[in-house]
């Protein structure tokens, strides 16, 4: 239902983008500036989740399409089969190749252009996603990941977002060095890890015509979920998740803190030694102090904790916050509306 609305919107305005358009500012130097999705793909993704995903389980699949200039057109997709424990030796790559070959036989675009994944209350900023998107983007430069949020969709507005790793993050991932210094050098923060690519949903004119036809026949009452005032459940869940992440973040910081303390302790020791040496030398000879680099080799510096985790957590927290903010803004609007309505009625 929602997708139809989006689709109709797109049809009406030609290239009407989905939400989150303003956030695609960082996509300037990227290979892909826009993602154009077929209505078929959207429906297939939704169907896939409804059939197989439940609760916080995640469904994934492959996107197929082609690249036109700086626009990525996604024309088809197929799901990854759900894993069970007993077929551990199932060959995913083999399956994908088979699938694509078969699709090619029926004259469907068979170019691998990315993958999609469902999400539970927006908790998708994870290491797993980062790793697989990195390998995709490493192999196929234009590939994107589509994140589909079934819960938000169920509340009345389709939530489908396309993400790519920023070139900076690609660099860092290529280096595989997540030490604090490397991240600092790369000048990476949670805000510029992912870039969102604007999405356009496009249908053929025939489909658009049919949608218009259907629109006339359907009743308005179908869209009541948009106006639902119940909010506490969703909000509570989001808060809970947010809290978990905050906890993780706290732990991470503590870890980092310990590391820093260890480092400083060691440095201080070194420093004291050096100072003593220097003082003795200066007193005896009056010479300038010796270079200090060689002492670094004597002490093995403590292993710095990888900082990518905390970046990801920060990104995740950010996502949650955005979600909650957005959700609450809408809800507040609804509440005010309801109040106004009630006042008017009275």
């Amino acid at each position: 239902m929602a997708s139809r609305k989006e689709g109709s919107g797109a049809a009406g305005g030609g290239f009407g983008s989905a939400k989150g358009k303003g956030k695609a500012a960082a996509a300037g130097d990227s290979a892909v500036k826009q993602v154009q999705i077929d209505g078929l793909v959207v429906l297939k993704i939704i169907k896939h989740y409804q059939e197989e995903g439940q609760g916080n389980e995640v469904v994934q699949g492959v996107l197929l399409g082609l690249v036109v200039d700086d626009r990525l057109e996604i024309t088809n997709c197929f799901p990854f089969p759900q894993h069970t424990e007993d077929d551990a030796d199932f060959d995913e790559v083999q399956y994908q190749m088979e699938m694509m070959r078969s699709l090619r036989h029926v004259n469907i675009d068979h170019l691998h252009v990315g993958w999609y994944q469902s999400t539970y209350y927006g908790s998708f900023v994870t290491r797993a996603l980062l790793d697989s998107q990195f390998s995709y983007q490493h192999a196929i430069e234009e590939s994107v990941v589509l994140i589909y949020d079934p819960i938000k969709t169920a509340q009345g507005s389709l939530s489908l977002k396309a993400y790519r790793l920023t070139p900076k993050l690609m660099e860092v991932c290529k280096e595989k060095d997540f030490s604090p210094e490397a991240l600092k050098k790369a000048n990476i923060a949670y805000e510029n890890m992912f870039e969102e690519v604007p999405i356009v949903i496009k249908n053929s004119y025939l489909i658009n015509v049919m949608l218009w036809e259907l629109e006339k026949k359907s009743a308005v009452a179908d869209r009541h979920e948009l106006l639902s005032l119940a909010s506490s459940n969703h909000l509570g869940k989001s808060l809970q998740l947010l809290m978990d992440r905050v906890d993780e973040m706290s732990q991470d910081i503590v870890k980092y803190n310990t590391y820093l303390r260890n480092v400083s302790k060691q440095q201080q020791q070194k420093h004291q030694q050096r100072r003593q040496q220097e003082n003795i030398q200066r007193q005896s000879r009056g010479e300038p102090p010796l270079p200090e680099e060689d002492i670094n080799k004597l002490f093995k510096p403590p292993q710095p904790p990888p900082r990518m985790e905390s970046l990801l957590i920060a990104g995740q927290i950010n996502t949650y916050c955005q979600n909650i903010k957005e959700f609450n803004a809408q809800n507040l609007g609804k509440l005010f509306m309801a109040q106004a309505l009630q006042d008017y009625n009275n």
């Binding site: 506490s232 509570g236 808060l239 706290s250 980092y256």
Partner: protein, 900 residues
């Protein structure tokens, strides 16, 4: 003195030489009967052969062959023999050390020396000698010289008066001239005849001298003086003499040997005993029954015809006791012997002290019967042991004048002299303590579900009786320390028993308007049998006051508390526990005391529960229950654990610590009490703190049970006690007290748990009441957000409580700020204030808290950063950081920021 006797003795001694098996019959040698001393007897008893005899005989044989060799001038043979002699001498060293160098030995040494010198001088003869002999001569001469150096003085002394032994010399010459094969025993015999004549007057003299002395003294003094006086007699005589005065020792050895044989010949014991009895009746001669040639081997208690005296019996006793603990000693036979000895002593009216003494030893050897510490007494032995101790106590009661004590020295014992106070070594208390241990062991090792156990348990009364009598005995005579010990024994047998009689009396007492007679009867009853409470009080108080070893006091206190707790005297039990400060240092006590402590704590907890003091009950039981090892901690069974954690040795030790089954605390009752207590505390607490992030569990174990219950895929009606409690908890969570009550108190639970209490109905009533109250609280916590106001009357009806109680509970909740509400007096309603945050608000609060933490942590990182890259004042700042706490640190940070 006839030849007949000597030959008789001769043959016997020979047979003894041929094998070790001989059993010399001469016990209680002639000197123990000084007045009856006669030669006949002497000679008939001249049979004793010992290692000493053998050694001396060996020596004389060797000496004879040396002399033979000397005569035929066979020096090489001389050398050989001399070497053998040296070796034999070394073997006989032990004997010689005791008695001095025998004369015959010195003589051969002197003669040999003379002979060698002679040969050496005789150049002619030397030349004629063959090579071997010449060589042997020189080496023998050297050796002898070296050897004689050790005995220089004695040899010189000998040379001065060799005449003394002329007579014997002659005889020995005669012997050596005679057949070479003539046995040394014959030699002995010959000597004997001669010696007798000279011996007699001297021994006579001695007798008169030593008569006033105590008998044993005489024995030893006699032999000692003998050895002194006879040491300057010649060799041939010496052998016999030695064997003669060795007799005393010989006797003991003989006795030992006899015992060994006894072990071998258990089957014959009976007939033998008959014979022994006959002997004791005074038969001069042993009777050979059925012509069995047992005479030689047949052991006997006392020599026939000997007059049984205290000293004699004592000696016998010592003999028997010396075999104690030795390998190969038949312990059963030993016990038999001792019992026999008692009978003898009794028969001959040797006095109570002696009997006492022997009985002490019987009990001790009964205990010794099992060499293994872990093994327990057999029922038969146990019964005998009990009987024996009872007899012992009876004797002691009958003769209070006898002083019995551990500290009486062996020497200062007085068993027979009626003028002085009797003193007997031995400690009844130790025996009884040991008996108690054995009893515990027997109970530990019996299957508690068998009829056998019941049978054994019947002995408990006897054990208690013995302890009681001992207590009475010691109250009259014992030292405070001993009294403490026996009191502790008594306490240990009393504390775990519920005094039903007292409980009944207490129930009756509140109604004083009963008939006078009954009252009287009751009073009599009370006098008759002391209330166990009063008894415990009396005993323990004495121990508290008098005990100097900490352990007894600790045990007494614990038992006292246990007893109080068992009889629901909660406050006294608790106060005693708190006053004793045992909680602080019980971990330093030994495991049995710790087990007792655990038992006491558990009993205390159960007592608190019965009194409706749920919180106290929970606290008392928490330690034991939370470990999940209650069984082990109470010494009521071993947990199944892997062998790595515990080897066989440890397991044995642990097994020995187990509490006998009849003293067990019911574990299911314990767990149920704990879980119900935890439920009554935890469920309202959970309801009150549903959204509190920092909520702590009161009872981990209870939560564990709840989780187990939740994990069940299919929830049937509860079966086990735990399931019942879990089901009850679930009901209580929703404030449904009726269901909760149904789950906690029903037929199953009654059978399993509640009926185990002495006053089960009271406990059940208490439980219902508690469940109602706590359900009310839970209900208010859980559903207060739904209400604007609740009528207290409705609540009272819902929970079947009376209005004041409801009012009280709600007021308490309001005061404790658990319930945000106020009471509206006129309408008797509770007005809710609705200050509790909603779920979302709670979450937001939690989040805010967490964020606060996060920020703090983050700032710390920033601090570090500042510290690490902060320029030239880095060092001093780091120093400051380390000392300061978090707050100061942040303060410092801000200041520094200001500096930038």
């Amino acid at each position: 003195m006839s030849r007949f006797f000597t030959t008789g003795s001769d043959s016997e001694s020979e047979s003894s030489a041929s094998g070790d098996e001989t059993a010399p019959k001469a016990a209680g040698g002639p000197y123990s009967k000084p007045l009856l001393l006669s030669e006949d007897e002497e000679d008939t008893k001249r049979v004793v052969r010992s290692a000493r005899d053998k050694r001396y005989e060996e020596l004389t044989n060797l000496i004879r062959s040396i002399r033979n060799a000397m005569k035929i001038r066979d020096v090489s043979r001389c050398l050989e023999e001399f070497e053998l002699l040296g070796r034999a001498w070394a073997k006989a060293k032990g004997v010689v050390d005791r008695e001095g160098v025998p004369r015959f030995y010195l003589r051969i040494l002197a003669d040999l020396e003379d002979y060698l010198n002679e040969l050496w001088e005789d150049k002619e003869g030397k030349k004629k000698m063959n090579k071997n002999n010449a060589k042997a001569l020189s080496s023998l001469r050297q050796k002898l010289r070296k050897y004689n150096r050790d005995y220089e003085g004695q040899i010189a002394a000998y040379r001065q008066n060799p005449e003394q032994s002329d007579e014997d010399e002659e005889k020995s010459r005669r012997d050596s001239e005679g057949s070479g094969s003539s046995s040394g025993a014959e030699d002995d015999a010959g000597n004997f005849l001669k010696r007798r004549e000279r011996d007699e007057p001297r021994s006579r003299y001695k007798e008169s001298e030593s008569e006033p002395e105590s008998e044993s003294d005489e024995d030893w003094g006699d032999s000692a003086s003998e050895s002194d006086s006879e040491s300057d007699e010649d060799d041939g005589k010496f052998t016999s003499l030695a064997s003669k005065f060795l007799k005393k020792d010989e006797e003991r050895r003989g006795a030992e040997r006899r015992r060994e044989e006894k072990a071998k010949k258990k089957l014959e014991r009976k007939s033998r005993r008959e014979e022994e009895e006959e002997e004791e009746e005074g038969g001069e001669w042993e009777k050979v029954k059925g012509g069995v040639p047992l005479i030689k081997e047949k052991p006997k208690m006392f020599a026939k015809g000997t007059e049984i005296t205290v000293g004699l019996v004592m000696k016998k006793l010592n003999e028997i006791l010396q075999a104690r603990g030795k390998k190969g000693t038949d312990r059963a036979a030993q016990i038999e012997l001792l019992q026999h000895l008692v009978a003898v002593a009794h028969e001959h009216q040797l006095g109570v002290p002696l009997e006492l003494k022997i009985k002490f030893n019987i009990v001790a050897s009964l205990y010794d019967y099992n060499p293994n510490l872990a093994a327990y007494m057999k029922a038969e032995l146990w019964q005998r042991c009990l009987g024996c101790i009872e007899e012992l106590l009876e004797l002691l009661f009958a003769h209070p004048e006898i002083f019995v004590g551990e500290n009486v020295l062996e020497e200062s014992e007085n068993l027979s002299n009626p003028e002085q106070p009797f003193r007997v070594r031995g400690c009844v208390l130790t025996l009884v303590e040991r008996m108690d241990e054995e009893f515990t062991k027997i109970m530990q090792n019996t299957d508690p579900h068998s009829q056998e156990y019941v049978e054994h348990l019947k002995d408990e009364a006897r054990v208690c009786g013995i302890i009681g009598r001992l207590q009475r005995y010691l109250q009259a005579k014992g030292s405070p320390e001993e009294l403490c010990r026996v009191y502790l024994l008594r306490v240990l047998h009393t504390y775990y028993k519920f005094d039903y009689a007292a409980a009944r009396r207490r129930q009756v007492r509140p109604r004083p308007q009963e008939k006078e007679d009954e009252e009287k009867e009751k009073q009599e009853e009370e006098e008759e049998e002391e209330d166990s409470e009063a008894l415990m009080e009396r005993l323990c108080r004495f121990v508290y006051a008098k005990d100097r070893t900490d352990r007894i006091r600790t045990c007494a206190i614990l038992c006292h508390i246990y007893h109080h707790a068992l009889h629901s005297r909660w406050y006294r039990a608790r106060d005693l526990m708190l006053m004793s400060h045992l909680q602080d240092n019980i971990q330093h006590a030994d495991p049995p005391v710790q087990i007792l402590y655990n038992r006491t704590m558990v009993q205390l907890g159960i007592c608190a529960f019965r009194q409706g003091l749920i919180k106290d009950a929970h606290n008392a039981l928490l330690d034991i229950q939370s470990s999940g090892r209650a069984k082990e901690l109470l010494g009521q069974g071993l947990l199944l654990r892997s062998l790595q954690e515990r080897n066989a040795e440890q397991e044995k030790v642990e097994k020995r610590r187990q509490v006998p089954f009849h003293m067990h605390v019911n574990l299911e009752l314990l767990e149920c009490v704990y879980l119900v207590a935890a439920m009554l505390l935890e469920i309202p607490y959970m309801a009150a703190h549903e959204f509190d992030a920092r909520r702590r569990m009161i009872s981990k174990q209870f939560h564990h049970q709840l989780r187990v219950g939740e994990r069940q895929p299919l929830l049937g009606p509860p079966e086990s006690m735990r399931e019942h409690v879990v089901a009850a908890s679930k009901a209580m969570k929703t404030g449904d007290w009726r269901r909760c009550h149904r789950f906690v108190v029903n037929e199953k639970m009654n059978g399993k748990v509640w009926d185990l209490f002495p006053e089960a109905d009271q406990v059940r009533a208490m439980l219902v009441r508690k469940i109602q109250e706590e359900s009310l609280r839970t209900y208010l916590f859980t559903y207060s957000s739904v209400y604007d106001s609740i009528s207290m009357e409705t609540l009272a009806a819902m929970f079947e409580l009376d209005l004041p109680t409801v009012h009280g509970i709600i007021s308490k909740m309001i005061i404790n700020e658990e319930l945000m509400a106020s009471l509206d007096q006129p309408t008797a309603t509770v007005m809710m204030h609705r200050t509790e945050p909603t779920a979302t608000q709670n979450l937001a609060l939690q989040l805010a808290e967490k964020l606060g933490n996060l920020v703090e942590n983050n700032e710390r990182v920033l601090d570090q950063r500042q510290g690490a890259y902060g320029g030239y004042f880095r060092d001093q700042k780091d120093g400051g950081y380390r000392k300061g706490d978090g707050y100061l640190r942040r303060g410092g940070f801000r200041q520094e920021r200001g500096n930038y």
